[in-house]
Subunit: 122 residues, 2 copies
Amino acid sequence: MRALILLAHGARDPGWAEPFAELLARVRALAPGTPARLAFLEMMQPDLETAARGLIAEGADAVRIVPVFFGQGGHVRRDLPDRLAALRDCHPGVAFACSRAAGEDPDVLDALALYCLRDFES
Amino acid sequence: MRALILLAHGARDPGWAEPFAELLARVRALAPGTPARLAFLEMMQPDLETAARGLIAEGADAVRIVPVFFGQGGHVRRDLPDRLAALRDCHPGVAFACSRAAGEDPDVLDALALYCLRDFES
């Protein structure tokens, strides 16, 4: 069974996570049969390992991690490959894959550009 | 003249800013007559004040700031209102407005959700 982790940075302010909960709800609505969870790199729970363990306990044997980050900074370029290597060591029977940062996607950039200008024109 | 600032967090890794440069290029393509600049809260230049001064020097008398953040955390809820108040004090002849965090926009969330699943299905 394939499963999805939406990985965000995390922040001290609990309200910061609201759009990620919204995003998870949209993903679940688009793919109702796909187990999907949020995970956070810092300051919020669950962390990546806890989210992965939960999905594996539900039967996932292939987990794709999508970094919901604008850019590929140190977190995505360095921390995430280390965490991914540790996950693979811990769960040798599970295939882990990792997408590029969501903010690099042309369609996401187009939606962001329209948002910037929509507010501007009002 | 109205102008636009796309405000991002900033990061140590210079590569992190690449999607924001892409976003600025898309905004300029959609609104070629609109002066638009990037600014960063931390670790990258220009900061918000420098970007605003540059636009005002070009003739802007109305500046809209769009926080290109996923969520409204401490930066957007607390730091940004303080910085905005300081900008208004410094430039009393300029109207400043501030949008909500881009990641709260339903269309941006839809594009993100599709991205999460597009990679998943490949």
